[in-house]
Symmetry: C2
Subunit: 377 residues, 2 copies
Amino acid sequence: MPLPKTTLQLRSLIRRDGELELSLVDEALPQPAANEVVVRVEAAPMNPSDLGLLFGAADMRTAKAGGTPDRPVVTATVPEIALKSMAARLDQSMPVGNEGAGVVVAAGGSPEAQALMGKTVAVLGGAMYTQYRCIAVAQCMALPEGATAADGASSFVNPLTALGMVETMRREGHKALVHTAAASNLGQMLNRICMQDGIGLVNIVRKKEQEDLLRGIGAKYVCNATSPTFMEDLTEALVATGATLAFDAIGGGKLAGQILTCMEAALNKTATEYSRYGSATHKQVYIYGGLDRGPTEFTRGFGMTWGMGGWLLFPFLQKIGPEGAQKLKERVAKELKTTFASRYTKEVSMVEALRLDEIAVYSKHATGEKYLLNPSK
Amino acid sequence: MPLPKTTLQLRSLIRRDGELELSLVDEALPQPAANEVVVRVEAAPMNPSDLGLLFGAADMRTAKAGGTPDRPVVTATVPEIALKSMAARLDQSMPVGNEGAGVVVAAGGSPEAQALMGKTVAVLGGAMYTQYRCIAVAQCMALPEGATAADGASSFVNPLTALGMVETMRREGHKALVHTAAASNLGQMLNRICMQDGIGLVNIVRKKEQEDLLRGIGAKYVCNATSPTFMEDLTEALVATGATLAFDAIGGGKLAGQILTCMEAALNKTATEYSRYGSATHKQVYIYGGLDRGPTEFTRGFGMTWGMGGWLLFPFLQKIGPEGAQKLKERVAKELKTTFASRYTKEVSMVEALRLDEIAVYSKHATGEKYLLNPSK
């Protein structure tokens, strides 16, 4: 079958006047160079990080449908106050989709490229919300025999982020972890990793169903942030695990500070003398997501030995270098259908992904409401 | 003159029922061991860190005077909500005073101790709000010829903190600094160090007089946080200096977050392409004081490559080791009456320091309102 000349691609554009436009465009599909392959993309997850780029700072309650049935266009308004933070992307049509998986339908001349011909591969490459993607062999990972594109669609972002958290814990000298928004796909993966590796993990959730879900997969420490005894529960779990490092997907509100406060309280339970500057053990919260876009607020009642900061997968991978990253990727490939299995509520085509009723569902980032995009559907 | 058997010492006690008590007690004065000396303390600064231990979380507006003219006692109430953070010091009578200076009036048998006999020395030892202090030679620094105890009283905390900020900047790969509460004694020292060493320093103050004071001593970048153009002014100064590290003495409120926001804006002024995660340059704010005890609040509009955290002199000195610390101390001794000169509004005795009208003044931490305690007065 000859390679098509163009590929249909999902784009996000924020205009200087504050209008977000989502649309499908025809993009030229190049012939693969020697070390490249062309992948027919059959599955790409809609992760929070993808939705961040897709919707930008637009208020999706203002979304309007337009265009034609084949080429739908969605528009929405970016509040003026938020437009400033979008300055660097204004008037640029952005391709979307960090990762995905599909079948190699064309390959360049190199033996490495040829070896992938016909194989189902996972790709970390950006611009994956597209029918076909021409990409370097180095950005592909051949899936194990029997794995489908859907099985491999989320091979990178969530698995490497979860492994990256555990690796960060080891490198920075902590012995256990706290994770918020813990019932997410990523959170469930992290539970499976920690159980396998014998690492203490304190899960923070906001709903009874999420507590039940995590306990159901074997989580030992689950604290509900809406419980009146949350601070006591969390402190107890921190004493039990010795966790002094947290990864927070929420960002806004008081949670990050509450975690530091409880860590300090847990450390002071075993303190033998007064230190006016608090415990000398370093307590760290990394904010890696922004499910709550509101301001972060904390009362510094946790001594002077603490840190808060941003954490991102890509700088972390750079820090550990190609060899370190390769080790993590090998573990993902080996445990793709067990530890690193993802679950999706629904598979949608690119046209369906631009329906207002679907956007209303998947834009909420609700636990267990993750969509899988199939650009070849 | 024979050594007295006891020394009058200033003490701070917080009782379990929430009452703070400041008083003067007679403490046994030991004979110096071989490597110790006895210093008659003639000058000790009342630094914010000392006041933190002295008053704890008490509300000094509730202070009441008691005791006798010779042995005054001050009591005040610790609000119940703050009592929890004092748990580890409850019912313990705490000596106060990180540093000070005075004359060596007795010395142990070692040559090092004997060499200090009659000399004026600066001491970093804790419990310096006392008439006499028996202390290891290693914690003393002989002052240069002609320097008085008042000249040397602040030889450690402020000078080493200011030098520690510059050293932290170098070790963590930043090229310029931001400092808040910049008109303080410490802030003025930092200006003199940065001018000498050719380091860019952005000073943040809150009052016109403080701006004038700093410009008067040669500061190039001074931003007033109460000005309507503060964010623009700060961003401009950050572009000019390239500062990506800040030391914040305030702690509470929005300032720490505003600094990160302006750092990101400054970095993005030279950015050539859109990064949805913001600039990849690490931006750091260290909170080293708590002049505003209220909550810290920030809106995360500064990308993902940032950190906020506590910073303290003593862990820093441990990190750089005895040799590193020695180098800094040598510089302090050499430039004691120039770079590291401190100014005080008033000298008070220990009895005077417990007068309510004096407490009302020095407890405010106001710029240019620093007291010097003279326990021998």
